[in-house]
Symmetry: C2
Subunit: 219 residues, 2 copies
């Protein structure tokens, strides 16, 4: 029987489907077409994404919203609670501590680190800032499995190494630099200016509301 590695883009879409489903009542039925329209994809894509994980639909009708939401939550492991550490109590770190999406029951920042002696010991978002030299000692005590890096670029690799030593299994890196982690640790680099580049492309290539299509060179 064939075995497939699930593409990351499918996981991203599951996350988008979950948001779309939250607008419907649990016992309503949504078709793959209906879900596709809300999230801006095709019904074939919706069915393909979900088929990786099993058969959730009612043939000829669609998906029961509550059941599908539970299934996706389970696939994404959102039916558990993740404890997060934030490293870098600067402007971006402060903003993330206040960000609604980082205050969900599934994702809780439980400890904050910085290397600035003027910040260590002070409170931010209800947490006392710890020194970065405490990372590897404190993470296991706090049960942290995910680290968020919001330091300047030059500090990011050292911080990532400490987070890995402290036992994290995933890192979300906002520092504007590529870092490396050992196999077995999942790294997501977030570069907010990439979103601007994508906007730049689409704005430049749409003329009066109609998207330009490229001609593919025939060879």
């Amino acid at each position: 029987m064939p075995r497939f590695k699930i593409p990351e883009i499918t996981i991203e879409r599951l996350s988008i489907y979950l948001r779309a489903l939250s607008k419907f009542s649990d016992d309503s039925i949504i078709s793959s077409q209906g879900l596709a329209e809300i999230v801006g994809t095709t019904d074939a894509q919706v069915r393909k994404d979900l088929a990786y994980f099993g058969e959730f639909g009612i043939p000829g009708q669609g998906y029961q919203v509550g059941k599908l939401r539970d299934e996706i939550s389970h696939i994404l492991a959102l039916d558990r609670s993740w404890r997060l550490a934030l490293v870098g109590a600067g402007k971006l770190g402060t903003a993330l501590l206040a960000y609604p999406g980082f205050k969900r029951k599934e994702f809780q920042i439980v400890v904050v680190f910085d290397n600035d002696p003027n910040k260590i010991g002070k409170e931010i978002g209800g947490k006392v800032i710890q020194g970065v030299e405490e990372i590897r000692k404190l993470l296991p005590q706090y049960g942290v499995k995910i680290g968020i890096i919001t330091t300047p670029a030059e500090a990011a690799q050292d911080v990532a190494d400490e987070l890995v030593e402290g036992g994290v299994e995933g890192i979300l890196n906002f520092a504007p630099v590529r870092i490396t982690v050992p196999e077995g640790v999942k790294l997501k680099n977030v570069d907010l200016s990439m979103e601007l580049e994508i906007l730049s492309y689409f704005i430049s290539h749409q003329i009066k509301g109609r998207k330009v299509k490229y001609e593919k060179s025939s060879h």
Copy 2:
């Protein structure tokens, strides 16, 4: 001759290729395989992404770094300068004003708005904060084509409407809510907690460094 719509994921990868290329000297040659390895994709994918836009490679060798970088910059319209407006001078807005990726010559935040009378008239990141009621009047004066929304959820749609009235062609929305814009305006929603959901999935599905593969149901 067939005409193709370019997938957004291809545009995202162009942006990633551009970052990878910045580490090499202009006159060096990089193979599609080499580029693929750096960014974590396949050489077939690299060739396919670039083939949408023409023939950039030297057959049997690869791509000249400087030339490819110029081509991608041109495709992404990064060989021009975009003027941006930021709406919402809270924690996230303040962080973005200081974010290196939003201070590039291609992307410059030239005006900042807020609805808080205590903030209007004050300076932030070298800009005097303007009232949101000035948006549609000031955007054309500042030549703004891209708006960034960092307001609370409940204000985001009204702000988007004002930005559209002011003539923006693209919006980057950080508010944790879905907003709508007319056709011809490109919207990118940034939900930072989606990145956490993707991490959550990958951490849960890797066992001692080896990724679990799902079995596809046979039917």
